[in-house]
Each structure stands twice: as structure tokens, then as C-alpha cells.
């Protein structure tokens, strides 16, 4: 089972680099959707005893991260009629390299963390840290509002991955609450993205500079 989990996490890490390397926002959203759906499978693979609550968390994660949230974002994207992240702060190639460096650093760093013996062999911790860093790369170097929402989603995916190390601490209802918050958060944010576009005729967050001091 551990090998399968690790294989899945390697794909997740590669998807990060793929998302960093494309300028078409719809492709970024779809990549992160696939990533979310793959991560949604994790609870089924990590837990030894498949209970009803594990299945429900997995199903909810796949439905929200893989289908509902990307659907909302793609809907918002169509409304605002933009296709590409035109001028990121750093070039796409540079961000791929940064992302790869972040993943390598996360691997090295995780090896030095005091992990419980049963978690020593999995990639869960490095994948979680790498995702959080990659999410922050999106948040800080992309200026289209929806790209920044993608960044938030990637950070959240990383945190979800770390949560797989915990079995009893997060009961079903709390896990569902977290997913619901994420969903509503993205929903509200997408509405605001739409309003930004209507008011400023653009979703470039660099235009949002009226409030200073």
C-alpha cells in the first residue's frame, strides 16, 4: 500500500510542476483538479481499516476538489473571458525550476524531521511541504485573480496531504467542515473575481491599488 501511496504522491508533485509551467489558466485549473481528485483517493489507501467515514471523506474530497471547485472556477473564468496569465512576475521556466527546487528541498527537510516510525518511508510529509511552497509561488508570482485562487487551492492540497498522517485527530464532522469551508471560500472568492472584472474590466490584481497607507 505504501508504494501505491508514494507513486500517487510522485504524480501529485509532477502535476505541481506541470501547473507551474503553463500559462493557460484553464489548463492550470484542470491540472489542480486532477491533483485534488488523486489526493482524494489517499484516505482509502492510507487507512488500514476502510470505515464508512473514510469512504465519505474520500468521496467528498474527490467531489469537491476534483469536480465542484474546478467547475466553479472554470465558470468564473468563462465569465471574465481571460485565457492566459500574461505577465507573471517570474517566467514560467523559472517558476518550474523554483518548484522543482522546492520539492527537492522538501524531500531533504522532511528526512530530518522527527517522524513517527510508521511514517518514515512515505512521501506524505515532503509532498505536503512541497505543495504548500508551490502554492505560495503561485500566490506571490501570478497576478490574475484566478491564478491566486489556484495558489490557495494548492496550499490547501498540501495541508490535506499532511492530514493523511492523522487518523483519529480529525473526526468525520470536522473533516467535512474543513472541506465545506474550502468550497464556500472558493465560491465566494469566485464571485468577487467576477465583480473585480466588472468593476475594473480586468482581473489583474495589480489594478487593486486604490487603498494605501
Amino acid at each position: 500500500m505504501a508504494d501505491l501511496v508514494n507513486a500517487l504522491l510522485v504524480i501529485v508533485l509532477v502535476l505541481n510542476l506541470f501547473a507551474l509551467g503553463t500559462s493557460r489558466i484553464i489548463r492550470v485549473i484542470r491540472t489542480v483538479a486532477v491533483q485534488g481528485a488523486l489526493l482524494g483517493l489517499l484516505p482509502l489507501l492510507v487507512h488500514e481499516h476502510i470505515t464508512l467515514s473514510v469512504i465519505m471523506v474520500s468521496a467528498a474530497a474527490i467531489a469537491l476538489k476534483g469536480i465542484a471547485i474546478p467547475a466553479i472556477m472554470i465558470h468564473a473564468l468563462r465569465d471574465v473571458r481571460i485565457k492566459r496569465e500574461v505577465e507573471p512576475l517570474i517566467s514560467l521556466l523559472t517558476s518550474i525550476i523554483l518548484g522543482a527546487l522546492a520539492s527537492a528541498a522538501a524531500l531533504l527537510f522532511a528526512g530530518r524531521l522527527p517522524l513517527a516510525s510508521q511514517h518514515a518511508g512515505t512521501l506524505l510529509v515532503p509532498a505536503a511541504i512541497a505543495n504548500v511552497i508551490v502554492g505560495f509561488i503561485f500566490l506571490t508570482t501570478r497576478f490574475k485573480a484566478l491564478s491566486q485562487v489556484v495558489g490557495y487551492l494548492v496550499v490547501e492540497n498540501g495541508i490535506f496531504t499532511f492530514g493523511m498522517l492523522l487518523i483519529e485527530a480529525m473526526p468525520l464532522i470536522v473533516e467535512m467542515g474543513v472541506l465545506l469551508d474550502l468550497f464556500v471560500g472558493i465560491f465566494v472568492t469566485c464571485i468577487i473575481v467576477n465583480r473585480i472584472n466588472r468593476a475594473f474590466s480586468s482581473t489583474d490584481t495589480r489594478l487593486l491599488v486604490a487603498l494605501k497607507g
Binding site: P171, V188, G213
Partner: protein, 488 residues
């Protein structure tokens, strides 16, 4: 009791969303808030009602925050009635529903004894308040809402990571749990490296929600653009809820024997917030943004007091109450002034004392109170924190605290005096560009009863806490201090 307190506002929010009459809808706000306060007083007076389930427990610090939230919310709700009446141009369905929703999720924060549930509730406060900040539907309010949502959500996401780290610290110790009781009773066994990392992440995450510098960037924008009543709820209630989360984390660290590690970081962040707030307040032309920086400063004072520890805890918890009430008075009176002058810049606003004797005077009194002048409540709480700093032997911290208070007093004073002094009459009448949709309904250019009385109510309570703290409140605060000091 937990169920009633949490579900009542949420149910009324649903009623608000369904009710077709906009005139009757607004009256549900104070009615629900009054019912909530009544239930709160009931829950506070009978501690045996404070246990809802394993995850929902109203412990002494939770009681203090719940009281602060409920009182500030009731007065702000009364204000919202008057305020919304003067804004007939804006639909109020979403506003009213979200307004009551905030009360429900904030109550959940005060009861949460499971750190995961606590996170869910605090994130929910961000989501429910976003439409309130967006109420004016202007370009500026969109910008403010965007920053609030993005910075708030990302910050809070780090707090979730910190929560997971804390759970991992417990897993390494041989038990795995996120309930507050478990973490507290097994605290000495928690894995130290994970606990340290968790503390930093939780401090950054919930600190973002509190608006501590340097994670405060959303705050001046959100408070500046939100309607005044919303500013009062954000600065008086929501930030207090985030403070409760930091209080819980600090409590666990303290029980784990890592109090010194946590205290140093809290004090540094607290003093830094005060310094940044002071710097940005000097020469601030926008008086609502000035209030936002004042909120940054007072959040700094709260975590500073927490960092100083036992001798300052009473003052810190009292400061949650006094700061919340004074911020209420300031934001509401500032909104009254802004409404009449149609501006919140000192370039166009002066002579508020003549134009609006009620709101102008209350705004000025609120300024004196929040900067720690006697005989108001914040003087007592800030003095208690200062006393605590000296009693704990932290003379440098106490000295810096006084110095920053002085800078804030000067910076804030300059702006406030420009607003209240001078000949009456707005600098520019109405709205010259005619861009405001409400320009057709010029509100009365004087004090209105419904929007001035709540401000007076806030200031009366602030004055009361300065002159005499009622015995039940003292008992409540002492209970909370004892609770925070005990180690399992």
C-alpha cells in the same frame, strides 16, 4: 445551551434570508442579538450549563470572549437598524443574513474545545463577513473584500497546518487527539519540535485573523471600506475570537513547559504591532483607516499582555472587553461622521463637534478612551498590563509599551483633532461627482437618535468599566485567570 446559543442566530439568519419585507428584516437583528445576550447571561450565571458535549465546552476564557462578543454585537445590531434605514438604496437581504450568521459562528468559536472545530468556525467567520465588507459595492470595497478573503484564507490555511502539526505532536507522544482537554492533560508529553513548529504556524495563522503586524495588510482596507457597524463587529468581536484561539494555543504551550518559548514570540509580535500601528497612524488622513491601525495596536497589546504572563493576564482579559466596547463606539461614531460629510478624509471633514455635537463628542471621547486616558475602561486594563510587566520584572517591555502608547496618542490625536475641531459644516457639500447611488437621498445632516444612542451606550459601558467593574465581571475575569494559570 450550546445548541441554542449557536443555532438561534443561524436559524434567524435563514429567516432573514427568507423574509420578503426589508423593513421588518432589520428588526430581527437587534431582536436576535438581545435573545442571544439573554441566553449568554443565563449560561454565564449557571456554569453547569457550560458543557454541551465533549467538543463544546464553555470554559472561563470562553465565557469572557462570549460576553464581549454578545454585548458588542447587540449594540452594533441596534445601530445597524438605524444605519440601514438611512441606506434605502442598498438591498439588505444578504447583509442581514450574514450579519446574524457571524454571531452564530463566533459563538461556535467560543464554545469549541476541539482545535479542528475551532479552525472551521474561525474560517467560517472570514467567509460570512466577506459579504458585509462588500456591502457598498464600490470599486474600493471590492478591492478590500478581495484582500480580506485572500489574505485571511491563506493565513488561516497556515493555522490549519499548525493544527495538524499539533495533532502530530500528540501522535508522537502516543495519543492522537485535537480535543483541548486531551492536549492540555498530556501536554508535557507532546513532541517539542512539532509543538514549536505548530505554535509558530498557529500564531501566524490566527495572528493574520487578529490583524497583528506584519500580517495586518488586509485590515486598514477592510475596516476602511466596511460599513461602520461591520467595523465594530470585526474589531470588537471577530478579532477577540481569533485572540481566543491564540489564548488556547498559548495555554497548551504553557502546560507543556514551553511557556517561555511562546511568551518571547508573543511579546515581540505584540510590540512590533504597536510600533507599526504607531508609525502608520502619524499623518493618517483617513480616519477609518486610522481606527484600523488602532485595532492593530490593541491586538498587539493583547498578545503582549498574554506574553507577559500571569501578572498581566487579568488586565489582558479585561482589555478584550474594554477594547471591544471602545472600538464599537469609535467605529459607529466615525460612520455617523462619514455619512454626514460623505467623506472619511480629514481633507474634507472638520468641525464635527459643531456639525454633529453628539457623534463628534462621542468620537472624541472614544479617542481619549482608546488611547488610555482616565477615567475610561482601557485606562484600567492598560494600566493593569503595565503593572503586570513591571511585576514580572520586564522593565524594558514595560518601557517600550509606554513609549508606543505615547506615539499612538500623538499620531491618533492629530487626526482626531482635525476631524472634531474647526468651524462646522462639511468641506464639500454632498457628492460633487454624483457617483454615489445614494446621492438622491441626502441623509439628515445632524445627529439621528437611532444611530447616536448605540454609540452613547458603548461609551457608557466604557466609562462604567473605568469607574467600577461590576463584581460578576471581576469574578468572571478572575476565573479565567485562574483557569489559564493552572497546570494539569
Amino acid at each position: 445551551m450550546a445548541g441554542a446559543l449557536i443555532l438561534l442566530p443561524l436559524a434567524m439568519a435563514a429567516v432573514c434570508a427568507a423574509l420578503p419585507s426589508r423593513r421588518w428584516r432589520v428588526w430581527l437583528l437587534p431582536a436576535t442579538a438581545l435573545a442571544h445576550l439573554t441566553l449568554t447571561v443565563g449560561a454565564l450565571s449557571r456554569p453547569e450549563l457550560g458543557v454541551g458535549s465533549e467538543w463544546l465546552v464553555l470554559d472561563p476564557p470562553g465565557r469572557v470572549i462570549l460576553l464581549a462578543v454578545s454585548v458588542v454585537f447587540l449594540i452594533s445590531s441596534c445601530y445597524a437598524v438605524g444605519d440601514l434605514r438611512l441606506r434605502p438604496d442598498r438591498p439588505n437581504r444578504v447583509f442581514c443574513a450574514c450579519w446574524l450568521g457571524v454571531l452564530g459562528v463566533m459563538t461556535l468559536v467560543t464554545w469549541s474545545h476541539h482545535l479542528g472545530l475551532l479552525w472551521v468556525a474561525i474560517e467560517a467567520t472570514t467567509l460570512v463577513t466577506a459579504p458585509l465588507i462588500y456591502f457598498n459595492h464600490t470599486q474600493r470595497s471590492i478591492e478590500a473584500t478581495w484582500k480580506y478573503l485572500l489574505v485571511g484564507s491563506v493565513g488561516i490555511a497556515l493555522a490549519l497546518l499548525g493544527t495538524f502539526f499539533l495533532a502530530y505532536a500528540s501522535l508522537s507522544a502516543g495519543f492522537e487527539s485535537l480535543t483541548f482537554e486531551d492536549l492540555l492533560s498530556h501536554a508535557p508529553k507532546l513532541s517539542k519540535p512539532w509543538l514549536h513548529a505548530a505554535f509558530v504556524l498557529l500564531l501566524v495563522g490566527y495572528g493574520t485573523k487578529m490583524g497583528l503586524a506584519p500580517m495586518h495588510s488586509w485590515k486598514p482596507d477592510a475596516y476602511g471600506e466596511a460599513p461602520g457597524g461591520v467595523g465594530a463587529v470585526l474589531a470588537g468581536c471577530v478579532t477577540s475570537c481569533a485572540f481566543l484561539a491564540i489564548l488556547r494555543v498559548y495555554h497548551i504551550c504553557n502546560a507543556a513547559g514551553e511557556g517561555a518559548y511562546a511568551a518571547r514570540r508573543l511579546m515581540v509580535l505584540g510590540l512590533f504591532s504597536m510600533a507599526v500601528a504607531g508609525l502608520f497612524m502619524i499623518g493618517q488622513r483617513d480616519f477609518k483607516r486610522m481606527l484600523a491601525y488602532s485595532s492593530v495596536e490593541h491586538m498587539g497589546i493583547l498578545v503582549l499582555g498574554l506574553g507577559i504572563g500571569a501578572p498581566a493576564l487579568f488586565g489582558t482579559l479585561l482589555h478584550v472587553l474594554t477594547n471591544g466596547l471602545t472600538k464599537g463606539a469609535l467605529f459607529l461614531s466615525a460612520e455617523n461622521i462619514q455619512r454626514v460629510y460623505d467623506s472619511k478624509s480629514t481633507e474634507r471633514v472638520s468641525g464635527a463637534l459643531r456639525q454633529l455635537p453628539g457623534s463628534g463628542a462621542l468620537f472624541f471621547a472614544g479617542f481619549l478612551a482608546i488611547t488610555g486616558s482616565p477615567p475610561f475602561g482601557p485606562f484600567i486594563s492598560e494600566f493593569a498590563i503595565l503593572n503586570g510587566a513591571f511585576a514580572a520584572g520586564r522593565f524594558a517591555v514595560g518601557g517600550l509599551f509606554l513609549f508606543f502608547l505615547l506615539i499612538v496618542f500623538i499620531g491618533m490625536g492629530m487626526t482626531v483633532l482635525q476631524v472634531v475641531q474647526g468651524p462646522g459644516g462639511p468641506g464639500g457639500r454632498g457628492d460633487p461627482e454624483g457617483t454615489e447611488p445614494g446621492a438622491a437621498h441626502q441623509p439628515a445632516r445632524r445627529d439621528e437618535l437611532l444611530t447616536t444612542l448605540p454609540v452613547a451606550g458603548f461609551m457608557a459601558l466604557v466609562l462604567l468599566l473605568g469607574l467600577y467593574i461590576p463584581a460578576p465581571v471581576t469574578a468572571l475575569l478572575n476565573d479565567a485567570v485562574r483557569f489559564l494559570e493552572t497546570r494539569p
